[in-house]
């Protein structure tokens, strides 16, 4: 899949934002006043910023409101609804804390559920796609949720929990990669089934329909070298989980904390880049590519 900046930014930031909001929602002793404002500001700007980024790749962003209509079947629609609901509920919850120093526990819990629901629905947009075997697994949701919760813990300053979660996230990530690497083959889809000619011999693409790349090839076929991908995986893990832990273990300093957050975000972004770049859509088969 083409690793478009908009979707990478979207999934990275909104995951983190909703992760932070989720932690804030269940905080038994949430901050209030300006302190609360700071946390919620970060949470909202990541969540909303991510959502905004996701509209950049729309052909008709002005019609985005229509995307709320198909919650019965569409995970993208559900995500939109969940995200808006989460932002509204969390907004009320935050307003109460910031302006009135009032803590509505129930509201917070609902907000948390909706925030995590948003992350889940996002993950399902990808996880549901049978056309992309690497994504098409419940593990994709686990991955997204773990990342969101981990990042949220880090942002909300729950250092100890975060350190444990870094470990979990790293593990989930490795498992997901491992599973993903064999997913395409396990699906059993190849040029033989794609053309129905597989039982006659080896099928090979001899010529593309058009001599220059088309929308499908640009969108769905992205070839990255295995070595390159392995390197990036290691970098992603280090940035996402290892480096933050090390930084947090140092004597506390704001600089280190910010560096830990930045490193984590960068690691997640690299992971997301790989999430797309390594994903092979079955349509690539028709072009003799994957």
């Amino acid at each position: 899949m083409h690793p478009a900046a908009s979707v990478i930014i979207f999934t990275t930031l909104s995951g983190l934002g909703f992760g932070l909001l989720a932690w804030l929602g269940i905080d038994a002793t949430p901050p209030t006043g300006w302190g609360a404002f700071g946390y919620f500001f970060i949470g909202f700007s990541f969540a909303v910023g991510g959502l905004m980024a996701s509209t950049f790749h729309l052909g008709h962003p002005e019609r985005a409101w229509r995307a709320f209509s198909q919650w019965k079947t569409s995970w993208l629609s559900r995500e939109g609804i969940c995200a808006v609901a989460a932002l509204i509920v969390m907004g009320l919850y935050a307003a109460a804390l910031v302006f009135f120093a009032r803590h509505y526990v129930i509201l917070g819990w609902i907000g948390t559920v909706l925030s995590l629901g948003t992350v889940f629905t996002t993950s399902m947009i990808y996880g549901q796609l049978k056309t992309i075997p690497r994504w098409n697994t419940p593990m994709t949701s686990v991955l997204y949720m773990t990342f969101a919760i981990t990042g949220g813990a880090l942002l909300s300053g729950k250092v100890a929990i975060a350190c444990v979660l870094f470990f979990v996230a790293g593990l989930v990530q490795i498992l997901w990669w491992k599973q993903g690497d064999s997913a395409f083959a396990e699906r059993g889809t190849d040029l033989g089934t794609a053309t129905g000619l597989g039982d006659r011999g080896t099928v090979r693409s001899m010529a593309h329909p058009h001599t220059s790349p088309n929308y499908l090839m640009r969108e769905f076929v992205h070839v990255i070298g295995r070595k390159h991908a392995q390197k990036l995986r290691v970098i992603s893990l280090i940035l996402m989980a290892v480096l933050p832990v090390l930084l947090l273990m140092l004597p506390f300093h704001h600089i280190f904390a910010i560096a830990a957050v930045a490193s984590h975000i960068a690691g997640v972004a690299v992971s997301r880049w790989l999430f797309f770049a390594e994903a092979e859509h079955v349509v690539g088969l028709y072009y003799g590519m994957r």
Binding site: M1, H57, L58, G59, H60, P61, R63, A64, R66, A67, F68, S69, Q70, K72, T73, S74, W75, L76, S77, G80, I125, Q128, L129, K130, T131, I132, R187, G188, T189, L191, T193, A194, T195, G196, L197, R200, G201, T202, V203, R204, S205, M206, A207, H208, P209, H210, S212, P213, N214, Y215, L216, R218, E219, F220, H281, V282, V283, Y286, Y287
Partner: protein, 249 residues
């Protein structure tokens, strides 16, 4: 409308005969012509006279080679457009309801005025049958020429998809798969019409007729030998035979 209809009254679609398709691309361009001028936005072309031209097409013809060990390779020209799947994943993923499957005939369409161009339906389609038009920002796909097949401004014979009407080799057939007596149902039954990527559970309506067995003379022992039993090895014997044979006519 992204819920799929429980069932459709008719199941309209295409049969594509891989034994007959010569790969001429007539269907590709005819489709481009009709759909540029008709349903929805024109199919645009980026850099039409420049580097890496890239236009929207609803039907494209691939070329494959199939080779079994020890045999001559075969070339198969392979046209591909939307298969109007019964359980179309492209429909259910659509957040706006722009994508839908028509209850009356099963045609999968995009309502361009509600499409936000998110591209998700193209991600969900295994066959590469949807293309986001780069100029208009909406999803384009084969409409099964819904604006031809019922069009009362066209003579009745012409109420078939543009690609079917134009195919010089007659490799494309249009009809109702819900009717077991239709031409498409019969062809599918007789010639072993197949689904593409059946393992993905999309239940495509369009069927592909596999190429007939080929190159039987490369290996098999000759059952034709009797037809070449020699009557003479050299000119003299030939003349003798000629004389006798001419007597008979």
């Amino acid at each position: 409308m992204t819920e799929l209809p429980q069932s459709t009254e008719r199941k309209l679609g295409l049969v594509i005969d891989l034994d007959t398709c010569v790969g001429c691309h007539a269907c590709v361009i005819s489709c481009k012509g009709w759909n540029t001028e008709n349903y929805g936005a024109p199919l645009s072309d980026q850099r039409p006279y420049g580097e890496e031209p890239m236009g929207t097409f609803l039907n494209r013809v691939h070329s494959y080679e199939v080779q079994a060990p020890g045999q001559a390779a075969q070339t198969v020209h392979f046209p591909k457009s939307c298969l109007h799947c019964e359980t179309a994943p492209c429909v259910t993923v659509c957040p706006t309801g722009a994508s839908y499957k028509r209850a009356e005939d099963g045609i999968v369409l995009v309502n361009e005025s509600s499409c936000i161009g998110c591209g998700l339906c193209a991600w969900a389609c295994p066959y590469g049958a949807r293309e986001l038009d780069q100029a208009e920002g909406v999803m384009k796909k084969c409409t099964l020429c819904v604006d031809r097949i019922y069009n009362e401004n066209l003579p009745e014979v012409d109420r078939v998809p543009s690609c079917v009407r134009t195919c010089p080799a007659g490799a494309r057939h249009f009809g109702d798969f819900a009717d077991p007596d239709s031409n498409v149902s019969k062809l599918t039954a007789e010639r072993g019409g197949m689904d593409l990527m059946p393992e993905l559970g999309t239940a495509p309506v369009n069927k592909y007729l596999p190429p007939r067995p080929k190159d039987s003379w490369d290996n098999e022992e000759s059952i034709l030998a009797p037809f070449l039993a020699p009557i003479a090895e050299e000119p003299k014997g030939f003349l003798g035979w000629l004389d006798k044979a001419l007597e008979k006519i």
